[in-house]
Amino acid sequence: MFQKWIDSSMKKSPWIFHINAGSCNGCDIELVSVLTPRYDAERFGFRLTGSPRQADIVVVSGPITMQSRERLVRTLAQVPEPFCVVSLGSCPRSGNVFKGSYAIDGPLEKWTHVDVSVGGCTPKPEAIIAALAQAAELLEKKRSRMHG
């Protein structure tokens, strides 16, 4: 009964959860700068949340290292459906300069679906905002498909 109303209000506040899967911190800094007053993604309702249970969009950065792999899978399993996965930078898609290393177990597609990916090493905040907006659109579509 209230589902339509809930969906329309959730559309305006897609919350982000950020997973660092062995990133060099470059992408993480850029993602945080997206939420600062200069780029201000919060005017579109994006908000960084501390718990995967509250997340709508999961942002993953870094090649998937052996140490973080299990945590990544466990965290992604806790995110409620429907959710979008955004891969940040070159690392999650290919491993970047760590490609072929014994310490990484990528790419991210091996472990989850990737809805939107951002290229760049590191991507510019504008590109990240564009990716988040695209992910929010996809999320809306997924949600409407789920609830009919």
Binding site: S94, G95, K99, G119, E126, A127
Partner: protein, 156 residues
């Protein structure tokens, strides 16, 4: 106290510091920004220097034989694998690889991250003689020389 009031009043009439990006056009990148690379296959000579210097090995080269004399060489640059260090552009002697300032690389389709280009290369003209023929000719010339030398000796 007074200067602070001045600052406060000035701030009231200032434009907001927030970029209005998704509402307006994306701002231009800084000068010398290294974004998506562009590849011009007409200038490329297939020296393979870019493949050598690329740390994340983001390039693939495929060589397809068209007929006995022509090859089609295709370079594919994967932008999801690139570190944007610019080494390939620095080492490209023909300047066929150039880093552009396009940083908007956002897509759900992996194909959008590929930069490809292909060109055809003709093999150099085949030599007039085969190595066997050349060897035979060399042997014949030497035999002739030897014969001439012997003749000279006989005369003396």
């Amino acid at each position: 106290m007074l200067p602070y009031f001045g600052e406060a009043i000035r701030n009231l009439f200032k434009k907001p510091a927030t970029e209005r990006f998704p509402g307006s056009a994306a701002p231009k990148a800084a000068e010398c920004y290294r974004g998506r690379l562009s590849y011009d296959p007409t200038k490329c000579v297939n020296c393979g220097m870019c493949i050598r210097v690329c740390a994340p090995q983001c390039m693939t080269r495929t060589i397809r034989e068209i007929d006995g004399e022509t090859q089609e060489i295709t370079f594919t640059f994967d932008m999801t694998s690139c570190t944007f260090c610019g080494m390939c552009a620095d080492f490209c002697s023909q300047h066929s690889i150039v880093m552009t300032d396009d940083y908007m690389m956002v897509s759900s389709d992996p194909k959008d991250f590929l930069v490809t280009g292909s060109f055809q290369k003709k093999k150099p003209a085949a030599p007039k003689f085969t190595p066997e023929q050349l060897a035979a000719m060399k042997a014949a010339a030497e035999a002739k020389k030897k014969a001439a030398a012997e003749k000279q000796e006989e005369k003396v």
